[in-house]
């Protein structure tokens, strides 16, 4: 079975290459569907396959850039990418990320920040999960109220409408974001991206997990446009991240390219699946992914508090992440197959 292992010339380890392809497919499906890089799933996966942690992070970021490019190409064709919004947000993201990263270095000099960072991450994930499910509950309430009056809720109506209040701030320059259908002050996306970038910098993550809901709830993007635009951002920040990690000598390109084979297939499935699932379906699935991420962080924190159960809790965290990724991937693939089948049947019936 030696042929199933490939040597990584930089990391100096033999890796089970079908595992890399499967991981690529999984993260491609999830990333293309939710509009995120998915570092929180890939890094533990690569680590399990045998990569040292430093190479796992760098390789993950390198593959993330390529995978997001594939997803952005597909979402761009569907008209889900607001490039103008993406470029404006890039300003805030880069500045915010660097401020956050510098702040962590400063905090490190003061003492151990790892636990603090993990607690902040956990609190943030709980907040995001609350936002998502509160929004879903409010939208359902609106539907029930409308049904009582014999009416139907507008298709564009949302549960949480914070963005409408934020759009009332008219500080120049004003921008018209055609694809997202938004007219607002340019400072709004800059401020939101600065805050999400700053948090990403502090937490040491790509930021898709935070930026996607921020695009929906604070800027007011439709779900599909939030997914596509976030992927465009992930693509650029991923390339930047890949450059810095590679410069530090922590990227294994051979593994990244093998993963991209799987990610190319997965990203197409994930991106096309957004065609068949309504915006709120995407939000609920995203909320579940966030909860799984929060549970795994909590388990990792508990492992530090109870060293006797450390190995068990750490392994459980990995199982939670990889189990959720597998289940969500399965849900998306099934939705894709069913949707594609219906579309082809409809096409044949028309012909």
């Amino acid at each position: 079975m030696d042929w199933m292992y490939v040597f990584m010339p930089i990391a100096g380890v033999y890796i089970f290459w079908p595992g890399l392809i499967i991981l690529g497919i999984g993260v491609g499906v999830i990333g293309g569907f939710f509009g995120m890089g998915g570092a929180w799933m890939v890094t533990p996966g690569l680590n399990i396959l045998g990569f040292p942690m430093a190479f796992a992070i760098g390789t993950d970021i390198a593959h993330m850039a390529g995978k997001s490019l594939i997803s952005t190409m597909r979402h761009g064709k569907f008209g889900n990418v607001d490039y103008k919004l993406g470029l404006i947000m890039l300003v805030g993201t880069v500045v915010g990320f660097e401020v956050g990263a510098q702040m962590v270095m400063w905090l490190e000099r003061l003492g151990n920040v790892e636990k603090v960072v993990r607690w902040i991450y956990l609190a943030l994930l709980i907040l995001i999960a609350w936002m998502v499910f509160h929004d879903v509950a409010k939208r359902k309430q609106k539907e029930r109220d409308a049904a009582k009056q014999g009416k139907q809720v507008d298709a564009l109506a949302t549960g949480i409408e914070w963005h409408k209040t934020l759009h009332k701030i008219k500080i120049p320059p004003m921008v018209h974001l055609r694809v997202a259908g938004i007219y607002c002050s340019a400072w709004l996306p800059i401020l939101v991206s600065f805050l999400t970038g700053w948090l990403a910098g502090i937490l040491g993550i790509g930021g898709g997990l935070i930026r996607m809901p921020a695009l929906i709830y604070f800027i007011g993007c439709p779900t599909h446009v939030a997914v596509g635009t976030d992927l465009f951002e992930v693509m650029i920040s991923g390339l930047y991240g890949a450059a810095t990690y590679t410069y530090k000598g922590r990227t294994e390109l051979v593994a990244a390219v093998i993963m991209l084979i799987g990610a190319a297939i997965g990203a197409q499935i994930g991106s096309v699946a957004t065609k068949y699932i309504k915006g709120y379906g995407i939000r609920v699935a995203f909320g579940i992914a966030v909860i799984a991420c929060a549970v795994s962080i909590l388990l990792k924190l508990l492992a530090k508090f109870y060293p006797a159960y450390g190995v068990l809790l750490d392994n459980s965290a990995t199982v939670v992440i990889l189990g959720t990724v597998s289940l969500l991937s399965l849900y998306i693939i099934v939705a894709f197959v069913q949707g594609a089948r219906k579309e082809i049947q409809a096409k044949k019936a028309r012909a």
Binding site: A65, G66, V95, A186, W187, P222, L260, K347
Partner: protein, 106 residues
């Protein structure tokens, strides 16, 4: 009132331009900020017994991280576009519409 907003508009446009300039400069600052820790630990790839292309790749890594980074950053998007286009062709064969979607709701 209008002149007040005009003057503020001009100032904000100035800040706007400064942010863009700052953003362009940011990677240089980030590289400089992130460089310190790297120099403390150097990982060298073992090229002994590697086949030719792997040996070349590992040597490139050992000799210059700058060239290694440039090549990596070129290869990733190129490979992404190639694989993406191939996957696109296969998806096109299934017979689904890959250029538009009907859903427009949130």
């Amino acid at each position: 009132m209008r002149s007040f907003w005009n003057s503020w508009g001009r100032r904000l446009n100035g800040i706007w331009l400064s942010i863009w300039t700052g953003m362009l400069m940011m990677p240089v600052m980030a590289m400089a900020a992130g460089g310190e820790k790297v120099e403390k630990m150097v990982i060298v790839a073992d090229t002994r017994g590697l086949p030719p292309w792997e040996a070349w790749w590992a040597n490139l890594y050992n000799e210059s991280h700058v060239y290694f980074t440039i090549v990596t950053i070129i290869i990733i998007p190129v490979v992404g576009v190639i694989f993406g286009t191939i996957a696109d062709l296969f998806m096109g064969m299934i017979g689904i519409d890959l250029k538009s979607r009907d859903l427009a709701e949130h």
